[in-house]
Amino acid sequence: MWSWQKRLNERHMAPIRRLVIVLSTTILFLLVLRATIVSSQTADQLQPGFGQALSSVRSAQTAGATPNEIAPLVSLLNKALKLNDQAANADSQMRSQLQTQISQQLASVEAQAGQLESIASQRTFTSNVIAYLSGGVGALIATLAYAYGTSFWRKYRVKRTFQMKISTK
């Protein structure tokens, strides 16, 4: 009796188990497909040098380079980007030539950004020192003004006191 019931249960369980396997396989497949589609959109044909050049330009900007100083570097980066697009559609010989040009341009951007960073950081340091020093100088001038002001006020009060007249009502 027990074995018959067990066999019946197993017979009932078999389609459920199959269904669970099919469902989990489908879900897994859909998840993998979704991941594949998303990652295929993020596959980009940009040389790694672009990222390095962008980082060096950002470092120059963080160091205090002005938008006018950054503009030529951004222009060079955009030229390199255009060459990169041309290289994607060119034949192998042309592509290698264009890639050499891109590498040169990116190296030039990195070198210029490095120079700009050192100049900008020095300038920022100098302007910070001047700002804090001028704060000290300003405090000194304000204190002197306060001292002279209180002194004049005291003298004025003394003078006014001595100029007082006693009059009878």
């Binding site: 589609i37 959109q41 980009d44 962008l54 963080t62 700002a131 001028s134 704060g135 304000a142 306060y146």
Partner: protein
Amino acid sequence: MSLQKRTLVIVFITFLIVFEMAAYVATTPRPREQFYQLYVLGANHMAADYYPNDDPNIRMGDAVRWYVGVTNFMGSVQLVEIRVKLGNQTIQPPDDQHAFPSQAPLVTAFHRFIQGNETWEFPFIWQISNATSSGGIVRILGLQISNQTIQLLNSSAHNGYNFRLIIELWTWNVDSSSFEFGWFAGTEHRIAWLQVWFNATAVH
């Protein structure tokens, strides 16, 4: 030390604190909200006239002129990419909650480095160059975008109704060395996308 000198020292220290605080405020850049602005304008550079003769039913060979623009408010130089996708009514648009891009097929992409507070705007001129219709299903097989013909697959709509061009903003992530959908403002993942609906009922 006399009372007067002591007073002067206290006054000097007070002024020094005030002036140095002013110097600190002047030299420290203020934190700003980091975001991008993405827009599409119509043929007359306004948020109108998106279709030729104001008819959203685009015929084969009808040139549609839009202006797509991005403004960078991230405070630094950024590499941005505009991805244009062709969807229909059933394809999901980008997921704002989970910051997933749309699964619609990619038509074309435009990329550029832009400075902080700079706006990059370009004319986006497109037309349907190839389409078929059979059994009530209209398939767009080719789009011409700025003199470049792009072959498409799997872009269909029932009777040609409710196609849409989805415009997504992607940005270059220096850490992962790849474009990512949207951008990170601190730890928050934000996205920007637009869509313009059109019909292609008169291609057959």
